[in-house]
């Protein structure tokens, strides 16, 4: 009889361990419980040692006979288990280099890329998989919330969350959405429309969000961001629209249209500083049209979710800086 996984609260143990080959699972379980709970990523690279990423460091796991060298078969089994032996059903996601797992975790993959007419057709002979554990941190956006919500005006300022990968952008976005939806900021609650293209923010399964995104949040998932944002704008009358990892020209055009329609926008983007995104044409366009009024720069200097600075994009000045605030 299969164990009842619903009683396990740690997302790594509940959602990810059942997908791993027995040898890898045993090594992960041999880690101290506290270290397991702090694990952010598990990496299986064929022919190389099994690695876990925690506290900003990638560590190799060792068994009784030294570091465990991952086999190609173990990588294959992990991918098969993650896709429910249905690689074809995840074709579009795999083309973008990842699969979203139940619970909102992401499995990134690398291997031989098949290109047809200059377009990535698929990734075959997968040699590396990186499983990133998605954890909810209620209150992650508490420090940022006063800069995002204009309580007297009962409006939300369009905000861009900016950071390199693994600095807690998605976690902060999720908590911002939840806070706005719940009315955490002195009771000012808003209707939020979330376009969750990769199902990472709300981790919706059969239409129901698995992560807490609040009672006033409508989730559109599996849909291209640019189309989804405009769809929600027309169909759900949101006060705020949110999406993760914007960057394309289509995204820029859609965001510009939304903010001109009087709806606030919350989004995340990759970049260590504002200068990084200003160098990208599509993001430069977004900044120039004044689609966002706030930009929150995150890092992992004091752990994931460290707020480095909050900028007022209209004046170009730091609204909050110098002092480091943990999110």
């Amino acid at each position: 009889m299969e164990p009842d996984l619903s009683i396990i609260t740690d997302p790594l143990e509940r959602d990810i361990l059942p997908l791993l080959p027995e040898t890898v699972k045993a090594l992960i379980l041999s880690m101290p419980r506290d270290a397991r709970r702090r694990t952010e990523e598990i990496r299986l690279r064929a022919g190389r040692p099994l690695a876990v990423y925690l506290d900003g460091t990638e560590l190799f796991l060792t068994g009784q006979r030294g570091p465990h060298v991952v086999t190609a078969q173990e990588v294959f089994r992990t991918l098969q288990a993650a896709s429910g032996s249905s690689v074809y059903a995840w074709e579009d996601d795999i083309r973008q280099g990842f699969i979203t797992l139940r619970g909102g975790h992401r499995l990134g993959l690398a291997g031989r890329v098949v290109v047809t007419d200059g377009r990535i057709e698929s990734i075959q002979d997968v040699g590396s998989v990186a499983i990133r554990v998605a954890r909810e941190i209620p209150g992650a956006a508490k420090a940022v919330l006063p800069y995002v919500v204009d309580v007297p005006g009962r409006r939300v300022r369009s905000t861009l969350l900016l950071s390199p990968p693994q600095c807690g952008k998605t976690t902060m976005l999720r908590d911002l959405i939840r806070s706005l939806s719940c009315g955490d900021m002195r009771g000012a609650s808003f209707r939020v429309g979330l376009v969750d293209e990769r199902s990472e923010v709300a981790a919706a399964y059969m239409g129901i969000p698995q992560k807490d995104v609040g009672p006033r949040t409508d989730v559109l998932y599996g849909c291209p961001k640019s189309q989804g944002l405009l769809l929600l704008l027309r169909s759900m009358a949101p006060d705020v629209l949110a999406t993760d990892e914007v960057g394309s020209e289509e995204d820029a055009r859609a965001i510009s249209e939304i903010t001109r329609a009087g709806v606030a926008m919350l989004a995340t983007a990759h970049g260590a500083e504002i200068g990084d995104i200003a160098a990208r044409p599509s993001m430069k366009y977004i900044l120039n049209v004044g689609a966002f009024s706030r930009c929150v720069v995150l890092s992992r200097r004091c752990g994931p979710g460290t707020v480095e600075a909050i900028y007022d994009l209209a004046s170009g000045r730091k609204v909050q800086g110098g002092e480091i605030v943990r999110g």
Partner: protein, 192 residues
């Protein structure tokens, strides 16, 4: 006490008649048994053909689910099982259940396990067995186009095997039936 001669004759006659009746009943039972063995063997040959045809049909449904709907494999196998009767349906159903129940198992493993059970029942010969065994290694492990090609190639091979099995059935079905009946009669006559 001694029996009178007439009574003794009557008892002997009765014994002889009874013995004859027992022999007759035994002969009839023996012929019935050999005949049923012959018919069972003929049925087994027919079942092999039917199994291959059912698997071909189930793979057709699987192809539709994978190629046109992109249905996840566990669900696609359930739909393929629903559309086919007999042991092929059972094989698909078992594979689907095993795939849904154990997150760590691959489609190849669960399909091979179900296939092995079918083989243990004597429903599949070596050749179609090895075709399906090879098919399972690629099941669910590639993109939609490759899956469709794999299914197409497997179905073509299975159809050839089904045609071969059908010819064998025509040849051997009658043989097994007659052999069962006539073999039983021959043994009975020889013993009489």
């Amino acid at each position: 006490m001694t029996w009178p001669p007439d009574e003794r004759c009557r008892v002997v006659r009765l014994c002889v008649v009874s013995l004859g009746a027992v022999k007759l009943v035994g002969a009839v039972l023996f012929v019935a048994a050999t005949t049923s063995i012959g018919f069972a063997e003929a049925r087994r040959v027919a079942d092999k053909v039917q199994f291959l045809e059912e698997v071909d049909s189930a793979l057709g449904v699987l192809g539709t689910e994978i190629g046109y709907c992109g249905t996840p494999l566990a669900q696609a196998l359930v739909r393929a099982a629903d559309s086919s009767r007999g042991f092929a349906g059972t094989m698909m159903q078992k594979s689907a259940a095993a795939l849904s129940d154990s997150a760590g198992s691959t489609a190849c493993e669960v399909f091979r396990q179900a296939l092995q059970e079918v083989r243990d029942m004597g429903l599949i010969d070596d050749m179609p067995f090895s075709i399906l065994w090879a098919f399972s290694s690629g099941l669910g492990a590639s993109n939609r186009n490759d899956q469709m090609r794999l299914l197409q190639a497997t179905r073509e091979k299975l159809r050839l095997e089904a045609a071969r099995a059908r010819e064998q059935q025509i040849r051997e079905s009658k043989l097994y039936r007659y052999l069962g009946l006539l073999g039983g009669v021959a043994v009975v006559l020889a013993l009489y």
